[in-house]
Amino acid sequence: MKFKIDWNAYYWPALAGFVILFVGNIVANPIFISHDNWRPVLLGAAPFIITTWAQTVPIMSGNGDLDLSVGPLAGLVNAVMAMTLPGLGITDPFSMIAIALAIGVASGLLNGFLVTIVRVQPIIATLGTFLTYQGLTLELLPISGGTAPPWMKVISGNVAGIPGVFFVFVLIAVAWWLLGKTAYRRNLLAVGGDIRAAYTAGINVIWVRIVAFIVSGVLAAITGVVFTATIGAADPTIGNPYILTSIAGVALGGVAFSGGQGGLLGAAAGGALLFLIENLFSLAQVSIYYIQIAYGSILLVALALNSMVDRARRRKAQAALV
């Protein structure tokens, strides 16, 4: 088995940025990497990273696909986990996880159905489901409340000295890696690269896109479970900030918005970057409002850098191609 490092891969800038900010966080506060801090850091980073993943897969499938309902869906699952299910007397982990995943799959099917079969533009379709989920959440949970079931301590606490939420990351990464072993990844990249080429080659383009939305929905639902474990309750507005960060994370991760390229490694780095920035700001006790400005500015800088790297690469390729 030969292992070759692809220095042209899309994720290097994101990983480099991640390392720099990671070191920056350690320098600013050496406690950052102390064992006691692992749990809060991973719990804090989880929604950034998982929602960015959730956003990445539809964006990879191209054709304008994106999922703006990621944040509100996480919020809806949060409300269901902490309010509705305990209210119905359902608190065992298996039923709750099954229900959370089912909500994710259902949302993915709905978004995917609207986008591929009804053929509503993805931005409109997912803004529509965004509003719908937000409304549903408010119906279930007009104000913050509810309680997380005790088993969620597995996620919010430590297991054998390792934060439980770490295993959530591992599970997702393994699932994605397994998915990459199947034909799906190539089909996804093909549909994202040029849907006409994919369609004429015989790929089932509709189901490739629907599955991308299902993956997105499931990941958003997992975020909802993590929210519940983290705050131990439900908050109807908890998901909304992550619509922006999920898209920013994708851009920072080097995943192309035109589709057909990218993966979860870059996206994870992109999402983590946003968390590290927030962490630095809160260490410096900067007002929360400036974090927004920083997010926006960093996103613009990342876009500029990506675009320059891209253009240099393309010019080199074009010059060689006489």
Binding site: G64, L114, V118, R119, V120, Q121, I123, I124, A125, L127, G128, T129, F130, L131, T132, Q134, G135, L136, T137, L138, E139, P142, I195, R196, Y199, T200, V205, L244, I247, A248, A251, F257, S258, S287, I288, Y289, Y290, I291, Q292, I293, A294, Y295, G296, S297, L299, L300, L303, A304, N306, S307, R311
Partner: protein, 318 residues
């Protein structure tokens, strides 16, 4: 009959707008009254002014997600400054110029870097929101001059005409935009650029300038909408524009301008604005709470787009 099927995308929005009016009038007592017709016109005109720039950017192949943020900025900037005693004739133009500059930056960055304007405008929107909060620290005391309030008052008059000034302004804007789209160099460039961005450069269309100008128009009109909304709500509210993200996009798409660009026009968005406003009034009139309104609006808009705003099947693209 064939003609109808052929032009369904044009007829349907206006047909639905008219049908919705009568349906709502039948369902909700008093909806046909002069007051509610005037508020329909007023609310539509506010949405219409906010969607005008959005229509142009979408036809050009872009999208402007910074509309709500610029509205919020203009609303807060105008009301807070006036509350502190600055003349509206000074702060008004300043706010609009600020909107134009933000828009120009949006267009410039999107085009110069060749990145999706969706991300660029999302980034600038975030910066603007952060800046508003950082500046005001949540303290949004402000006030609005009476003439602005009257300009967007449901019972306002414009000279002898029984509608507020905002409606007349909107009618004027529609006229300008229709001429701009059909009879101006800029308009033709906008359509060409949206229809085939690869060919636009080779056809000597100055894309960078075009994108800068069109996004500047969108920014300026969003700022104008923000001032009007300050008058409408009589307060400095940075969140006043939030609803306008979904509604401006929906008005454009429901009107029949596809997101991919190169087709459509502002006249259609006018129909889209009426539909959205009518739907909102219908839902409120039915006594739905805010949560239920959100759910219903989301569902209804998707249903409407599904009826005639569908994208083409991949087989038609080969």
């Amino acid at each position: 009959m064939n003609w109808v099927r052929h032009r369904l995308d044009v007829i349907a929005p206006f047909g639905i707008a008219i049908a919705l009016f009568f349906i709502t009038a039948a369902v909700i007592p008093g909806y046909g009254s002069m007051v509610s017709i005037r508020s329909l016109l007023l609310l539509s005109s506010l949405l219409g002014i906010a969607s005008a720039g959005q229509t142009l950017t979408i036809i050009m192949g872009g999208i402007d997600l910074s509309v709500p943020a610029v509205i919020g900025l203009a609303c807060v900037g105008f009301a807070v400054a006036f509350g502190q005693g600055v003349s509206p004739w000074v702060i008004g133009p300043i706010v609009i110029v600020a909107g134009i500059i933000i828009g120009a930056i949006n267009g410039l960055i999107s085009r110069a870097l060749r990145v999706n304007s969706l991300i660029v405008t999302l980034a600038t929107a975030t910066i603007i929101y952060g800046a508003i909060w950082a500046q005001t620290k949540g303290d949004n005391r402000g006030s609005v001059p009476d003439f602005v309030t009257d300009f967007v008052s449901v019972i306002g008059w414009t000279g002898p005409i029984p509608v507020p000034g905002a409606v007349i302004l909107w009618a004027f804007l529609v006229l300008v935009f229709v001429i701009l789209e059909r009879r101006s160099v800029l308009g033709r460039w906008v359509y060409a650029s949206g229809a085939n961005p690869g060919a636009a450069e080779l056809a000597h269309i100055p894309s960078l300038l075009l994108w800068t100008v069109v996004f500047a128009i969108s920014g300026g009109l969003s700022a104008l909408a923000g001032i009007l909304l300050a008058g409408f709500s009589s307060a400095a509210n940075p969140q006043v524009g939030d609803a306008y993200l979904f509604t401006t996009l929906s008005a454009v798409v429901i009107g029949g301008t596809p997101i991919i660009g190169g087709r459509g026009g502002y006249a259609r968005t006018v129909a889209g604005c009426f539909i959205i406003t009518e739907l909102t009034m219908l839902l409120i009139g039915l006594g739905l709470d805010e949560a239920a309104q959100q759910v219903s609006l989301g569902v209804l808009i998707i249903v409407l787009v599904a009826i005639y705003g569908r994208e083409t099947h991949v087989r038609m693209q080969i």
